[in-house]
């Protein structure tokens, strides 16, 4: 199966009619841990918006009926036999997408915070900037998303640190609403940080020469379930991510996954 990279064919997205062609070649990955409440409506929304989009729910060893619910709503379900956290679930999803030869993977949280209606925006940004990874940012543009003061402060500090690490402006380092293309998918299926992966994964990507860009997205309020990051965990999050960002700079770059070295079509 030959796969041509997105940045190599410009005509592909020229026609508006063919705009949605990428949707058949993408896989929507939803990591879910006890997301019974919000997952059903989200999956229904995705199905009505994009009937052709394949959806994989990664059930991170939930205690509730997340897996059968997702299956009943027509999603493919990856059942992790033990809890790995968001990072481990996402890597499982990336491996799955890579094995099945998808060209794009879209990541979206299972709590309904990320509106599926905004997915074409991500795809458009991916194409327009010829980027490998697009992040849906809460803080870019008009929509002023506000959280608690301390959380905002933490996110701002993390954004500054990450912007320095990536040598480009990143406004929303913790956003899990992303779209990635096949080279980045290949990289992520091999290397993905374990817990609180989003900021670190961006730093790793830019270090390997991948292009990252952001686009503004309106996030919704959480539709159900609980945040995986509580008050105490937020401090741990900040420290863990800071350490990871600092140490990653001191690591050698893996030339096998360098962006320049993944020019040729990747066999699924």
């Amino acid at each position: 199966m030959e796969i041509v990279l997105a940045r190599d064919d410009d005509k592909r997205y020229a026609n508006q009619l063919h705009m949605m062609e990428w949707i058949k070649e993408s896989l929507l990955l939803i990591p879910a841990f006890n997301e019974e409440a919000a997952l059903g409506p989200l999956l229904d929304e995705v199905t009505t918006l994009y009937p052709d989009l394949n959806v994989a729910v990664i059930n991170d060893c939930s205690d509730d009926f997340t897996a059968p619910l997702a299956r009943a709503h027509g999603a493919q379900v990856l059942n992790l036999p033990c809890n790995l956290g968001v990072g481990g679930s996402m890597q499982a999803g990336f491996e799955y997408a890579c094995v099945h030869g998808y060209r794009y993977a879209i990541r979206c949280d299972g709590d309904g915070q990320h509106p599926p209606a905004e997915i074409p925006k991500l795809a458009a940004a991916l194409q327009a900037n010829s980027a490998d990874v697009v992040i849906g940012s809460r803080f870019l543009g008009q929509n002023a998303y506000t959280s608690t003061r301390w959380r905002n402060l933490g996110i701002a500090g993390l954004a500054a640190l990450l912007s320095y690490a990536c040598r480009q402006r990143i406004t929303d380092p913790t956003s899990g609403f992303q779209m990635i293309n096949r080279p980045a998918l290949h990289f992520f299926s091999k290397t993905y940080p374990a817990d609180y992966p989003e900021p670190e994964s961006l730093a790793l990507l830019t270090r390997q020469g991948y292009r990252v860009c952001e686009t503004s997205v309106d996030f919704r309020a959480r539709q159900g379930g609980h945040s995986s990051i509580g008050k105490r965990a937020a401090l741990f999050y900040a420290m863990k991510v800071t350490l990871a960002l600092l140490v990653d700079r001191a690591r050698a770059v893996d030339p096998r996954f360098n962006r320049q070295n993944i020019r040729e079509p990747l066999a699924p």
Binding site: Q76, V77, G88, Q91, A92
Partner: protein
């Protein structure tokens, strides 16, 4: 106090000797260890009687006895754990190293302490504590590294399992003769009325 210790050590020698000679074969190793410990104690106590004319043990000697016992305990416990395959050899090495270093400190206090005092300026007790603490730190560090390795391997295994399970599900869908087995069966059990699944 000393008489009690002598009695204990002689008793230990006799008991473990008996176990060594007459006991079951798989207990021979541990009996041998205890025999060695008993002999060492006897020799140590004899040495004490010959070198010091006073009937009471000095603090230095007590300390040597305690550290010697400690090292013996560590060594025997480690070897026994390895023998019972409760501990892998690579983890045992650090523990054996700890025990041996403490043993050397107990047997040759003058040489080691003179050296340690020259290097660090510490007293005997402090030096022993620092050595033990240092080795425990090493062991803990080793564990952290190994935990991280294990965590990575566990993650890889878990992901692979999940992918394989999904693959089985796909194959079951491909082969109609399999019917309601495996994951489909679970699905049927979990959901009363599953709607027809899409594009899976």
């Amino acid at each position: 106090m000393k008489a009690l210790l002598e009695l204990l050590s002689v008793g230990l020698v006799l008991l473990s000797g008996l176990l060594f000679v007459a006991g079951r074969k798989q207990n021979r190793f541990i009996a041998g260890c205890w025999l060695l410990l008993g002999v060492a104690l006897v020799l140590f106590l004899a040495g004490v009687t010959f070198t010091t004319h006073a009937k009471v043990m000095t603090m230095d000697l007590k300390l040597r006895a305690v550290t010697g016992l400690l090292s013996f305990f560590v060594l025997i416990a480690t070897m026994e754990a390895v023998r019972r395959t409760q501990m892998r050899e690579r983890y045992a090495l650090l523990w054996l190293g700890t025990g041996l270093v403490i043993l050397v400190f107990a047997i040759y206090p003058t040489v080691t302490i003179a050296w340690l005092q020259k290097v660090t300026g510490m007293q005997y007790v402090t030096a022993i504590v620092v050595v033990i603490f240092g080795f425990l730190l090493l062991v803990a560090f080793h564990f952290s590294v190994e935990f991280s390795h294990l965590h990575r391997k566990l993650g890889a295994l878990t992901r692979h399992c999940a992918l394989l399970e999904r693959r089985i599900e796909e194959l079951e869908r491909e082969v109609p003769s399999l019917g309601k087995t495996g994951t489909d069966k679970f699905q049927a059990l979990e959901t009363p009325n599953p709607p027809p699944s899409r594009s899976a």
